[in-house]
């Protein structure tokens, strides 16, 4: 894919997305005709109960999964037509993931976890080490850089995950229940980091079932049974 073209990607469009699973003889409609647009600098929350299809939607947005029908466009490029390698490049350079269960690699320390996406992006060793240290400093982990995930608290692990998601300076940050495994105080700290990132023009798509967490977003999409039931403007 043309590098210059992909560098400018900042918006995400989902058009009539459907994702169906076969569960025995029954067809489960995880997503049933979702359409939405994410613009540069948006802070969007997708809110809904468990099983509403939020995570499935986030995975499709992040090119981790493919819909049964519909289109996913990142900067007007239909990503469903891209090869596996091109999708990997998009995940590496233009999308940052933050998962509920942190998904850090246990055998690597905090610094190495943050370095990893930069390694796949081909950034030289010195540069990525310096950048990873800066990112960890920004999320307040300057003294925990060389600790392995098992030596970190839940909040610290999520901060490492955020630093990792920001490693290649992605345009869009996809965040799945970021405070789900954290206490309320730590959750608040994490949300403030995300809020600050958005304030610096980072596009954030957040998935949650929690009203308080969703309230950080500017637009809240309410999802139920694979459909968007309500769109709430939360700009204050």
């Amino acid at each position: 894919m043309d590098k210059e073209k992909t560098r400018k990607m900042s918006t995400l469009s989902l058009i009539n997305l459907k994702k169906y699973y076969n569960s025995g003889k029954r067809v489960v409609k995880a997503l049933d005709g979702i359409s939405l647009n994410v613009k540069k600098g948006d802070f969007i929350a997708i809110k809904g109960p468990s099983g509403a299809g939020k995570t499935t939607l986030l995975n499709i947005m992040g090119c981790l999964d493919k819909p049964t029908y519909g289109e996913v466009k990142i900067n007007d490029i239909n990503v469903l037509r891209l090869s596996e390698n091109e999708l990997a490049e998009i995940r590496n350079k233009y999308i940052g993931f933050v998962f509920q269960s942190f998904n850090l690699i246990e055998k690597l320390n905090a610094l190495e976890n943050v370095i990893l996406p930069m390694m796949f992006a081909g950034i030289p060793y010195d540069e990525r080490a310096r950048k990873a240290e800066n990112l960890l400093r920004k999320v307040g982990l300057e003294k925990r850089m060389h600790h392995s995930p098992s030596q970190l608290s839940g909040g610290e692990m999520q901060r490492v995950a955020i630093a990792r998601a920001l490693a290649n300076d992605p345009k869009i940050l996809l965040v799945d229940e970021p405070t789900g495994n954290l206490d309320s105080k730590t959750g608040y700290q994490i949300m403030n980091i995300l809020k600050e990132l958005n304030r610096k023009d980072r596009t954030i798509v957040l998935v949650t079932h929690d009203d308080n967490i969703a309230s950080y977003a500017h637009i809240i999409y309410h999802m139920i049974d694979g459909k968007i039931s309500k769109v709430e403007d939360n700009k204050k």
Binding site: D65, K93, I105
Partner: protein, 402 residues
């Protein structure tokens, strides 16, 4: 991700499960160890035999009658050659001279104690040393009152028996059980040191040689001839063979076939035998490598399943399929290389030990170390291909959420 980084990550992963990975490389280790052991042994054996037959200069022909051993060498030669044969063979156009060799049990007498001479006393003719081109300190024996002794006998063995070395002109008392009689010999000459190993059980450095007239033997076990030139050796061999086939006396005495050895055909036989041994070891090694590679494949498949989540994370943060494939392939290459390295060490130790134990001259075939490591490398790649391919087929969502 560049290759250096991939090798770094692969090494970290290998180190995390040291015992498990070591056990799964055991098959490769055994295969390579076997290959190296057999190659060290066969190369050393080849070198030893070549050295052993070096005393056969390129003009010497040795004829024996008996069953041929694996190496084309008769170990139990029959007494079939006569003085008549010697005279007739010496007249052949491409034969310069000819000698008969026999032996009988003998003991060195020292302070009224008798010490057995390992190969007995050699009974031959004075020009035996000119046939072999042996240099003497002194002269050859002129009659059965004189002996010529080998370098090791004159120095090391004599020092053990008499507490002194022997010199030309010294006397030596030897008891011959066959004749139930002791003889006093004068040492006419000492053979200069000959480079030959002891693998065949004979060492001319330990010889005590006297004239055949000492006993009333008329039949001899070995006939040695010297060709007129090294070029003419094949013709000389052919003439001797023809003589032995056509001569009724020799034919009647020989109950076994005649075996004619020259330096050239001995080298050929050794090459053939060593080659056969190497091919056999290579076959076993290949079978063992296949078994070993199944072990590595199995281990790698377990590793892929265990690290499903990690693969999912790597894919989510942008690792391409070829990078994931490379990571797993590198791990299996490491396992193949570790297996072959350990195998090389184990095989070298075993091969050196066995060669030493069997009195062989050590020859370390370095090229086989490179071949073995290359084989380990290829086995690593082949056994890692399927697991590595499987790792790229892991579904990211399935790996991250289930």
């Amino acid at each position: 991700m560049n290759l250096r980084e991939a090798f770094g990550i692969g090494w970290k992963n290998i180190k995390r499960h040291r015992i498990r990975n070591s056990l799964s490389t055991l098959g490769i280790t055994i295969a390579v160890a076997l290959l190296i052991t057999v190659n060290i042994y066969s190369s050393s054996m080849k070198k030893t035999f070549v050295e052993d037959f070096r005393f056969l200069n390129d003009k010497v022909i040795v004829v024996r009658c008996g069953e041929k051993g694996e190496m084309g060498y008769v170990s139990r030669a029959l007494p079939v050659f006569t003085l008549n044969d010697e005279e007739n063979i010496e007249k052949l156009p491409h034969v310069e001279n000819c000698c008969l060799i026999g032996w009988t049990d003998a003991f060195v007498v020292s302070n009224e104690t008798k010490i057995a001479i390992p190969n007995g006393i050699i009974l031959s003719q004075p020009d035996i040393f000119s046939v072999y081109d042996y240099k003497l300190n002194g002269t050859t024996f002129h009659n059965d009152k004189e002996v010529v002794v080998g370098y090791v006998f004159a120095n090391e063995i004599a020092r053990n028996i008499f507490n002194r070395t022997l010199n030309v002109g010294d006397s030596l008392e030897i008891f011959i059980p066959e004749m139930n009689k002791s003889f006093n010999f004068s040492i006419a000459g000492i053979i200069n040191k000959i480079e030959m190993s002891t693998a065949l059980g004979t060492d001319h450095n330990k010889w005590i040689v006297t004239d055949y007239t000492l006993t009333d033997k008329t039949l001899f076990r070995v006939l040695t001839a010297k060709a007129t030139s090294s070029r003419g050796i094949d013709k000389a061999v052919e003439e001797i063979r023809q003589y032995l086939q056509e001569n009724p006396e020799a034919r009647n005495l020989a109950t076994s076939p005649f075996v004619i050895n020259t330096q050239k055909d001995v080298a050929k036989t050794i090459d053939k035998f060593a080659g056969r041994l190497q091919r056999f070891s290579l076959t076993i090694t290949l079978v063992s490598l296949i078994v070993g590679s199944i072990g590595v494949t199995n281990m790698m498949l377990v590793a892929v399943m265990e690290r499903k989540r990690e693969i999912g994370i790597l894919k989510a943060i942008g690792a391409k399929n070829r990078e994931i494939l490379l990571l797993f392939l590198i791990e299996s290459i490491y396992m193949g290389l570790i297996g072959s390295f350990v195998g090389c060490i184990a095989g070298s130790v075993t091969g050196i030990f066995l060669s030493h134990q069997n009195g062989l001259i050590l020859l370390y075939p370095v090229i086989w170390i490179f071949i073995a490591i290359f084989m380990g490398f290829i086995t690593g790649i082949l056994s890692g291909l399927y697991p590595a391919y499987k790792s790229t087929k892991i579904d990211v969502v399935d790996a991250l959420y289930r």
